[in-house]
Symmetry: C2
Subunit: 126 residues, 2 copies
Protein backbone atom coordinates (compact mmCIF):
# COMPACT_ATOMS: atom_id res chain seq x y z
CA UNK A 1 0.00 0.00 0.00
CA UNK A 2 1.12 3.48 -0.91
CA UNK A 3 1.97 5.97 1.80
CA UNK A 4 -0.78 8.50 2.38
CA UNK A 5 -1.09 11.66 4.45
CA UNK A 6 -3.99 13.10 6.37
CA UNK A 7 -4.83 16.60 5.30
CA UNK A 8 -7.42 19.19 6.21
CA UNK A 9 -8.71 19.38 2.67
CA UNK A 10 -9.31 15.69 2.41
CA UNK A 11 -11.21 15.84 5.68
CA UNK A 12 -13.39 18.64 4.36
CA UNK A 13 -14.31 16.57 1.31
CA UNK A 14 -15.35 13.69 3.56
CA UNK A 15 -17.34 16.04 5.82
CA UNK A 16 -19.15 17.56 2.86
CA UNK A 17 -20.01 14.20 1.33
CA UNK A 18 -21.07 12.83 4.71
CA UNK A 19 -23.57 15.61 5.20
CA UNK A 20 -24.75 15.59 1.58
CA UNK A 21 -28.30 14.52 0.82
CA UNK A 22 -27.40 13.74 -2.78
CA UNK A 23 -24.34 12.89 -4.75
CA UNK A 24 -22.21 15.93 -5.56
CA UNK A 25 -20.34 17.24 -8.55
CA UNK A 26 -16.82 18.58 -8.13
CA UNK A 27 -18.24 22.06 -8.70
CA UNK A 28 -20.71 21.60 -5.84
CA UNK A 29 -18.04 20.24 -3.52
CA UNK A 30 -15.83 23.23 -4.29
CA UNK A 31 -18.65 25.61 -3.43
CA UNK A 32 -19.32 23.78 -0.18
CA UNK A 33 -15.69 24.07 0.93
CA UNK A 34 -15.23 26.34 3.97
CA UNK A 35 -11.86 27.41 2.62
CA UNK A 36 -10.58 28.12 -0.86
CA UNK A 37 -9.33 24.97 -2.57
CA UNK A 38 -8.11 24.46 -6.09
CA UNK A 39 -10.33 22.34 -8.33
CA UNK A 40 -7.41 20.13 -9.38
CA UNK A 41 -6.92 19.30 -5.73
CA UNK A 42 -10.52 18.19 -5.34
CA UNK A 43 -10.31 16.07 -8.48
CA UNK A 44 -7.23 14.37 -7.13
CA UNK A 45 -8.64 13.87 -3.64
CA UNK A 46 -11.72 12.20 -5.13
CA UNK A 47 -9.57 10.10 -7.42
CA UNK A 48 -7.61 8.80 -4.45
CA UNK A 49 -10.76 8.15 -2.43
CA UNK A 50 -12.34 6.29 -5.32
CA UNK A 51 -9.30 4.04 -5.61
CA UNK A 52 -9.51 3.25 -1.92
CA UNK A 53 -13.23 2.54 -2.21
CA UNK A 54 -14.11 5.43 0.08
CA UNK A 55 -16.25 7.15 -2.53
CA UNK A 56 -17.93 6.11 -5.75
CA UNK A 57 -19.20 8.15 -8.63
CA UNK A 58 -21.83 7.95 -11.33
CA UNK A 59 -21.67 9.68 -14.65
CA UNK A 60 -24.90 11.60 -15.09
CA UNK A 61 -26.79 11.82 -18.35
CA UNK A 62 -25.21 15.26 -18.60
CA UNK A 63 -21.76 13.71 -18.74
CA UNK A 64 -20.72 15.12 -15.38
CA UNK A 65 -19.36 12.95 -12.57
CA UNK A 66 -21.33 12.84 -9.33
CA UNK A 67 -19.67 11.60 -6.18
CA UNK A 68 -20.98 9.95 -3.04
CA UNK A 69 -19.50 8.29 0.01
CA UNK A 70 -19.46 4.53 -0.08
CA UNK A 71 -21.38 3.27 2.88
CA UNK A 72 -22.18 -0.37 2.45
CA UNK A 73 -21.28 -0.52 -1.24
CA UNK A 74 -17.94 -2.19 -1.07
CA UNK A 75 -18.44 -3.84 2.27
CA UNK A 76 -21.32 -6.11 1.42
CA UNK A 77 -20.49 -6.48 -2.27
CA UNK A 78 -17.33 -6.10 -4.22
CA UNK A 79 -19.24 -3.85 -6.61
CA UNK A 80 -21.70 -1.13 -5.68
CA UNK A 81 -24.55 -2.23 -7.84
CA UNK A 82 -27.26 0.05 -6.56
CA UNK A 83 -29.42 2.31 -8.67
CA UNK A 84 -29.06 6.04 -9.10
CA UNK A 85 -31.64 8.54 -10.18
CA UNK A 86 -30.96 11.81 -11.95
CA UNK A 87 -33.62 14.49 -12.24
CA UNK A 88 -33.69 16.10 -15.67
CA UNK A 89 -34.82 19.36 -14.15
CA UNK A 90 -32.62 19.96 -11.09
CA UNK A 91 -29.89 17.52 -12.26
CA UNK A 92 -29.54 16.09 -8.75
CA UNK A 93 -28.31 12.52 -8.62
CA UNK A 94 -29.49 10.33 -5.76
CA UNK A 95 -28.22 6.96 -4.59
CA UNK A 96 -31.14 4.59 -4.14
CA UNK A 97 -31.34 1.51 -1.91
CA UNK A 98 -32.24 -0.79 -4.79
CA UNK A 99 -29.76 -3.33 -5.94
CA UNK A 100 -29.53 -4.69 -9.42
CA UNK A 101 -28.95 -8.33 -10.13
CA UNK A 102 -26.05 -8.21 -12.58
CA UNK A 103 -25.97 -10.97 -15.20
CA UNK A 104 -22.86 -12.94 -16.04
CA UNK A 105 -21.42 -11.61 -19.29
CA UNK A 106 -19.67 -13.95 -21.64
CA UNK A 107 -17.40 -11.60 -23.54
CA UNK A 108 -16.78 -8.99 -20.89
CA UNK A 109 -15.06 -8.84 -17.56
CA UNK A 110 -17.19 -6.54 -15.44
CA UNK A 111 -15.38 -4.40 -12.85
CA UNK A 112 -17.88 -1.68 -12.05
CA UNK A 113 -21.47 -0.78 -12.71
CA UNK A 114 -23.36 2.47 -13.13
CA UNK A 115 -27.10 2.13 -13.07
CA UNK A 116 -28.85 5.38 -13.78
CA UNK A 117 -32.54 6.07 -14.00
CA UNK A 118 -33.56 9.41 -15.42
CA UNK A 119 -36.71 11.44 -15.06
CA UNK A 120 -38.28 14.00 -12.74
CA UNK A 121 -37.95 14.06 -8.98
CA UNK A 122 -40.77 14.77 -6.56
CA UNK A 123 -39.48 18.24 -5.76
CA UNK A 124 -39.47 19.22 -9.42
CA UNK A 125 -42.89 17.87 -10.39
CA UNK A 126 -45.11 20.90 -10.73
Amino acid sequence: MKKTRNTQKQDYVIDILTNAKHTMSVEAILKAMPIKVNKTTVYRILERFAEKGKVHFVTGEDGKAYYALCNDCNVKHEMHNHIHFQCKSCKKVTCLPYEIEVPELKDFEVQETQFLMIGICDMCIS
Copy 2:
Protein backbone atom coordinates in the same frame (compact mmCIF):
# COMPACT_ATOMS: atom_id res chain seq x y z
CA MET B 1 -46.10 16.31 -35.68
CA LYS B 2 -43.43 18.68 -36.90
CA LYS B 3 -42.52 18.82 -40.56
CA THR B 4 -39.33 17.00 -41.34
CA ARG B 5 -37.19 16.67 -44.45
CA ASN B 6 -35.18 13.81 -45.82
CA THR B 7 -31.58 14.73 -46.35
CA GLN B 8 -28.49 12.96 -47.52
CA LYS B 9 -26.66 13.64 -44.28
CA GLN B 10 -29.38 12.16 -42.13
CA ASP B 11 -29.31 9.06 -44.33
CA TYR B 12 -25.58 8.75 -43.90
CA VAL B 13 -25.95 8.82 -40.12
CA ILE B 14 -28.51 6.03 -40.29
CA ASP B 15 -26.30 4.02 -42.64
CA ILE B 16 -23.32 4.39 -40.38
CA LEU B 17 -25.23 3.40 -37.25
CA THR B 18 -26.87 0.50 -39.07
CA ASN B 19 -23.52 -0.96 -40.01
CA ALA B 20 -21.90 -0.21 -36.66
CA LYS B 21 -20.89 -3.10 -34.46
CA HIS B 22 -20.87 -0.88 -31.40
CA THR B 23 -22.42 2.35 -30.28
CA MET B 24 -20.68 5.39 -31.72
CA SER B 25 -19.59 8.76 -30.42
CA VAL B 26 -20.25 11.87 -32.48
CA GLU B 27 -16.55 12.01 -33.22
CA ALA B 28 -16.63 8.47 -34.61
CA ILE B 29 -19.71 9.17 -36.70
CA LEU B 30 -18.04 12.26 -38.15
CA LYS B 31 -14.99 10.22 -39.12
CA ALA B 32 -17.17 7.57 -40.74
CA MET B 33 -18.96 10.13 -42.92
CA PRO B 34 -18.22 9.74 -46.64
CA ILE B 35 -18.51 13.50 -47.07
CA LYS B 36 -17.49 16.42 -44.91
CA VAL B 37 -20.18 17.31 -42.39
CA ASN B 38 -20.14 19.85 -39.61
CA LYS B 39 -20.19 18.47 -36.09
CA THR B 40 -23.08 20.69 -35.07
CA THR B 41 -25.09 19.10 -37.84
CA VAL B 42 -24.41 15.62 -36.52
CA TYR B 43 -25.33 16.67 -32.99
CA ARG B 44 -28.61 18.03 -34.26
CA ILE B 45 -29.38 15.04 -36.47
CA LEU B 46 -28.87 12.72 -33.51
CA GLU B 47 -30.95 14.96 -31.27
CA ARG B 48 -33.84 14.76 -33.71
CA PHE B 49 -33.50 11.01 -34.12
CA ALA B 50 -33.41 10.54 -30.35
CA GLU B 51 -36.63 12.51 -29.99
CA LYS B 52 -38.28 10.32 -32.60
CA GLY B 53 -37.03 7.19 -30.87
CA LYS B 54 -34.89 6.23 -33.84
CA VAL B 55 -31.68 6.24 -31.84
CA HIS B 56 -30.79 6.08 -28.17
CA PHE B 57 -27.62 7.04 -26.39
CA VAL B 58 -25.74 6.10 -23.26
CA THR B 59 -23.38 8.33 -21.39
CA GLY B 60 -20.13 6.46 -20.95
CA GLU B 61 -18.07 6.49 -17.80
CA ASP B 62 -15.88 8.94 -19.70
CA GLY B 63 -18.78 11.40 -19.89
CA LYS B 64 -19.11 11.08 -23.66
CA ALA B 65 -22.39 10.23 -25.35
CA TYR B 66 -22.52 7.01 -27.38
CA TYR B 67 -25.28 6.50 -29.91
CA ALA B 68 -26.98 3.42 -31.31
CA LEU B 69 -29.95 2.68 -33.50
CA CYS B 70 -33.07 1.63 -31.65
CA ASN B 71 -34.09 -1.73 -32.88
CA ASP B 72 -36.61 -3.29 -30.55
CA CYS B 73 -36.05 -0.83 -27.72
CA ASN B 74 -39.07 1.36 -28.10
CA VAL B 75 -41.21 -1.16 -29.87
CA LYS B 76 -41.42 -3.81 -27.22
CA HIS B 77 -40.99 -1.51 -24.26
CA GLU B 78 -41.63 2.14 -23.77
CA MET B 79 -38.13 2.40 -22.31
CA HIS B 80 -35.01 0.78 -23.64
CA ASN B 81 -33.90 -0.87 -20.45
CA HIS B 82 -31.14 -3.04 -21.78
CA ILE B 83 -27.61 -3.14 -20.45
CA HIS B 84 -24.57 -1.52 -22.00
CA PHE B 85 -20.95 -2.39 -21.50
CA GLN B 86 -18.03 0.01 -21.81
CA CYS B 87 -14.48 -1.25 -22.04
CA LYS B 88 -12.07 0.80 -19.95
CA SER B 89 -9.30 0.11 -22.42
CA CYS B 90 -10.77 0.64 -25.89
CA LYS B 91 -13.72 2.74 -24.59
CA LYS B 92 -16.13 0.92 -26.91
CA VAL B 93 -19.72 0.81 -25.68
CA THR B 94 -21.82 -2.19 -26.65
CA CYS B 95 -25.58 -2.70 -26.41
CA LEU B 96 -26.28 -6.04 -24.75
CA PRO B 97 -29.40 -8.19 -25.07
CA TYR B 98 -30.00 -8.25 -21.33
CA GLU B 99 -32.92 -6.41 -19.90
CA ILE B 100 -33.09 -4.99 -16.43
CA GLU B 101 -36.16 -5.30 -14.29
CA VAL B 102 -36.71 -1.70 -13.19
CA PRO B 103 -38.25 -1.19 -9.76
CA GLU B 104 -41.12 1.21 -9.10
CA LEU B 105 -39.71 4.33 -7.50
CA LYS B 106 -41.76 6.21 -4.95
CA ASP B 107 -40.32 9.70 -5.19
CA PHE B 108 -39.26 9.72 -8.82
CA GLU B 109 -40.97 9.60 -12.17
CA VAL B 110 -38.70 7.53 -14.37
CA GLN B 111 -38.56 8.43 -18.06
CA GLU B 112 -35.37 6.79 -19.25
CA THR B 113 -32.71 4.41 -18.04
CA GLN B 114 -29.00 4.03 -18.66
CA PHE B 115 -27.52 0.81 -17.42
CA LEU B 116 -23.79 0.69 -17.87
CA MET B 117 -21.41 -2.04 -16.88
CA ILE B 118 -17.73 -1.22 -17.01
CA GLY B 119 -14.68 -3.39 -17.33
CA ILE B 120 -12.51 -5.03 -19.97
CA CYS B 121 -13.75 -6.53 -23.20
CA ASP B 122 -12.56 -9.80 -24.67
CA MET B 123 -10.55 -8.09 -27.38
CA CYS B 124 -8.62 -6.03 -24.84
CA ILE B 125 -7.83 -8.79 -22.36
CA SER B 126 -4.16 -9.54 -22.83
